[in-house]
């Protein structure tokens, strides 16, 4: 792994006083390789490596730490900082109900995450209600209704085929019935589908969400920057849920998404069941990305 590679690259440094340019170049190559293998986008890697290089260069070789350990500490700390130093709560509106909008590419885990977030909110003593605005995917609305049934959380369902109208009616229903959070599940879409991205903008204008969460698959590769950038520019995301973290993907998409959007990763999905949602821990993610 990167830690052992850096130890090897820098083991002859012990006799010297400072981490020199020559040693840094070799280390930076190892770090770049490790991050690319973890799926961090190559432009994000370039920026990251230059920041780390700046921090590591000229550092005195500390007496108690091996030089390799010292550099890996700089890398780990920098990565943790970039991923978000603190865990961030869900923002609620002053006047209920709050609206949370879940968006993202096809198959990323939005519908499942809607259920997970609803359970989470109920455990935090909220009264959530769900609505699906996915009028495209076969049995999507049925899927969310079944999810709601499985976790015993109310779902608003109406015969309409207009996503904006469905969301608007659900919000009114939430107000009338005294729910304090409305979770809006949306259809998966490509960030390059102009019509569907505009639809999201219209849903946003209609229901004014306090949270617009990008639901992204942790195994996404270099494309993560493209979708994250576009969703963020269009909708002004408030946060990210990174799903399928129970697999063995290194999850470099986390850094790519954070770097390009600046939005905090709030949760990770760690399984298919509705209790499989965890708060995001940047230092754990940093270790995972570093392999």
């Amino acid at each position: 792994n990167l830690s052992t590679k850096l130890q090897k690259t820098l083991r002859d440094l012990r006799g010297e006083g400072r981490i020199s340019e020559r040693h840094i170049e070799a280390s930076m190559r190892e770090i770049r390789m490790a991050l690319l293998e973890s799926d961090v986008h190559f432009t994000v890697v370039k920026d990251f490596v230059s920041r780390v290089k700046e921090k590591a260069l000229g550092q005195e070789v500390l007496g108690d730490l091996m030089p390799g350990q010292q550099v890996i500490k700089v890398v780990r700390d920098e990565l943790t900082n970039l991923l978000g130093k603190e865990t961030i709560d869900l923002k609620m509106s002053k006047v209920p109900p709050s609206v949370i909008l879940l968006v993202g590419l096809q198959g990323s885990g939005k519908t499942t995450s809607t259920g997970k977030l609803a359970m989470w909110l109920r455990n935090q003593k909220h009264q959530p209600v769900l609505v699906s605005t996915d009028v495209y995917r076969p049995a999507a609305i049925e899927q969310l209704s079944i999810v709601a049934g499985e976790i015993d959380i109310p779902v608003y369902r109406e015969d309409g085929r207009d996503p904006v109208q469905l969301a608007t009616q659900a919000l009114q229903h939430a107000r009338d019935m005294g729910f304090d959070v409305l979770l809006v599940d949306t259809a998966g879409r490509l960030h390059i589908d102009m019509e569907l991205m505009e639809e999201l903008e219209r849903i946003t204008s209609a229901v004014n969400p306090t949270e617009t969460l990008l639901v992204a698959d942790a195994m996404t590769g270099q494309d993560a920057v493209n979708s994250a950038r576009e969703f963020n520019q269009r909708l002004d995301l408030s946060g990210v849920i990174l799903t399928k973290m129970d697999g063995d993907t290194r999850g470099g998409a986390a850094l790519s998404i954070k770097a390009v959007s600046g939005r905090p990763i709030k949760f990770i999905g760690v399984g298919e069941k509705y209790d499989a949602l965890e708060v995001f821990h940047p230092e754990r993610m940093a270790n995972r990305i570093l392999g």
Binding site: E37, G107, H191, T220, Q222, D223, N226, K244, D248
Partner: protein, 280 residues
Amino acid sequence: GTADSPITESQLEDLENILIGADIGVETSLAILERVREETRGRKVLSGAQVRRMIRDQIGVILQASQEVDPGTRSTTRPRVVFVVGVNGVGKTTTVGKLAHLFKQEGEEVLVCAADTFRAAAAEQLAIWAERTGADIVQQGAGADPSAVLFDAMAAARARKKDVLVVDTAGRLHTKTHLMEEVQKMQRIAAREVEGAPHEVYWVLDATTGQNGLNQAREFFKTIGITGVVVAKLDGTAKGGIVIAIARELKIPIRYVGIGEQAEDLIPFSAEAFVDSLDL
């Protein structure tokens, strides 16, 4: 400079970024560029256009090698049994629907099996695809044993004299041993019920997947065997370059490419078209 002025180190870096940006992966990208550097050593200086051509050719060779492993002639056994497998959310159920449409158009009688008994509304989703494509469907209630549904579907396919049975399976992470064993059990059942079944095991890859795609392919290949890859969601901006690493290592042919969410959005894989799409 122009396309025929000698390639510079900076241009080589740009090419490396295009390869990496396409999810081809560091190891494969470096191997490709190393071959380029070998060719240029002691030879005349190469232009940017020549190097790009060299890279495209190398990728083409890798892809062709895995395509030639198996020309993909269809089994003539009735029913032909096709399993569709892969991790969560990649596009399996939609691909089953598209395959049903494709086979129907080719004049076949199609039966689909809703063997995903776990995920909410999985059978309902497939039922809509069956209706859309004129295929029959065998499904049971939620929570049923997938092997039991498969067994029923195999019997129905034989009884109704279907040409092909396409089996939709639940999404499963390759790291979940018990879920991989579930598909192995389904394979044994299929083999007992119809000679040579499953005749095809199509593994679906989401084109947005990065290096983890190689881990997935390795595990599915080792545990279940894969006769063909389907790359879904290539209508997005992702290039799906991990298939090159997969082809290089596992030599599995890529059969189809998914380019949208409708029944007709499945086309045969073309190595040439794929290489062109990399914009090298």
